[in-house]
Amino acid sequence: MVILEVENLTKIYVVGLLRKKEILAVNNISFRVSEKEFISLVGESGSGKTTTARMILRLLKPTSGSIRFQGRDVWSLKKMEDLKWYWRQVHGIFQDPFASYNPLYRIDRVLNQVFNLIGDIGADRESLIREALKEVGLRPDEVLGRYPHELSGGQRQRIMVARCYLLKPRLILADEPVSMIDASTRAGVLNLFSRLRDEYGTSVIFITHDLGLAYYVSDRIMIMYRGEIVEEGSPEEVMENPQHPYTRKLREDVPLLYRKWSGF
């Protein structure tokens, strides 16, 4: 069952005061996301993948095109009630775990905020939070009550994942969610997304420049280059038989464990 439909989505930024210049950040992209599907949107920085995520999250207004979630046009949701419903179902993790926290508040705030969406569920909030933190591999007593600058990037990313785990949305847009978590423990955090899928039918769009991560976690990979989706397919198709020159280059440049770069 398709839960998200993106059609002809375009974002043009206008920059400059006197001499206006248009920057085509996202150019007419369309795709669908099914229930329980893991998709990776792969591209380098500036390829438009973060812009796409922000538009789907209803944080950045598209220039044109439509985004429909469960049949409802996302950008025609206006009432706070509807918006809360949407963000309850569709949530995001941003790539910069430093900027994701207001430096003036303890990290507990981003977790407590979840209850603003869920409402009163009768359960003990504190113990739910503690449980979610344990799930992402943190010791609750070491992070609760701390300020963001007292935690490492990896810890902050884990807390963001914990926020999604608390919320259990239908769709998560995760922008480089594990970039600062050590490779040695990354798989543990990624398993949590799989558990959300298995237990709650959650779909995930991973936004990453890490082809390896995309290869392992996703059902489908979309390669984004200069605002367009230039290639799409199963991880095997994309890795073993890349069609677009950019995908080929990407595959050549990814360092592998059992093969050396040619010329090195």
Binding site: F94, A99, V110, Q113, N116
Partner: protein, 280 residues
């Protein structure tokens, strides 16, 4: 227990110096009139007396005690500064926050208003008001200064908001279903607290100078006394040429000391806050 922020602040020399100058003058303005209970606006002695034990800072043309005038003048100048700064800050911050946060047509129209007021000198407004009002009390002067000196605050606050708005924690709050008002009060304004405080300090210093400026050209308060008014009379009656130094030097020094100590205070605070903002 002294909070660590206070300990850090104490270490900044500039801050200690500026704060002690400022507080010393404030104290003089607050307590002075009580310990030196001389009416500043009635004749208490012979005219244009140099300082003596009876009149510590001499007297003016009408035999009024200059020290008493000075102490009351500080008090009034401070209260004009405070009131005007509070008015400017309220207008400037509101317009800056709303325009930066809302964007679009709201932003454009508010910025247009800002530019119009920016181009409008307070002197002009004061001249218009002076033409209609015979009597101008300190509060009226504060309002005029207040409603004309906020544009730079609005612009600065707006640009701060524009940069804060792109920080992802705003989006995190938005996704948690927080409304605009809560985001403004929980996420945006607290992050600008230090900045707003500095703006207040600068506004206050500017307002006291502006008051003096208005008074010097005869557009200041008509009732009561202020540092500007003392200077106005001293200037009008050629105190400088006639070397009646006790009449114009003390208020001049007080005014400059007040304004510069506030400027210094704001740069000291800037030094303290900026590396933090960058570093964290």
């Amino acid at each position: 227990m002294i909070p660590p922020i206070v300990m850090d602040l104490i270490k900044i020399k500039k801050l200690i110096i500026s704060l002690s100058i400022f507080l010393a003058i404030v104290l003089a303005g607050l307590i002075g009139p009580i310990v030196y209970p001389v009416n500043p606006v009635v004749m208490t002695g012979p005219i244009e007396q140099p300082p003596s034990s009876k009149y510590p800072l001499g007297t003016d043309r009408w035999g009024r005690d200059v020290l008493a005038q000075l102490l009351h003048g500080i008090r009034n100048s401070l209260s004009i500064g405070l009131t005007a700064a509070a008015i400017s800050l309220a207008i400037g911050v509101t317009i800056g926050v709303v325009s930066g946060f809302k964007g679009g047509i709201t932003e454009n129209s508010l910025m247009l208003l800002t530019d119009v007021v920016y181009a409008l000198p307070s002197i002009l407004l004061m001249m218009l008001i002076a033409a209609y009002l015979e009597e101008r009390n300190p509060f009226l002067v504060s309002i005029v200064i207040g409603v004309t000196s906020w544009p730079w605050v609005a612009r600065a606050v707006r640009s701060q908001i524009l940069s804060l708005k792109t920080r992802e924690f705003i989006d995190m709050s938005r996704m948690a279903g927080l409304g605009d008002l809560r985001i403004m009060f929980e996420d945006l304004l607290p992050n600008m607290a230090s900045y707003i405080f500095m703006a207040f300090v600068l506004l206050m210093s500017g307002a006291m100078i502006a008051e003096a400026g208005l008074s010097m050209i005869g557009l200041g308060v008509t009732r009561g006394i202020s540092l500007g008014i003392i200077l106005y009379w001293a200037q009008l009656l050629e105190a400088v040429r006639r070397a009646l130094w006790w009449w114009f030097i003390p208020p001049g020094v007080c005014l400059v000391a007040l304004a510069t100590s506030l400027l210094l205070l704001s740069t000291a605070l800037d030094e303290y806050f900026s590396p933090r903002l960058r570093g964290e």
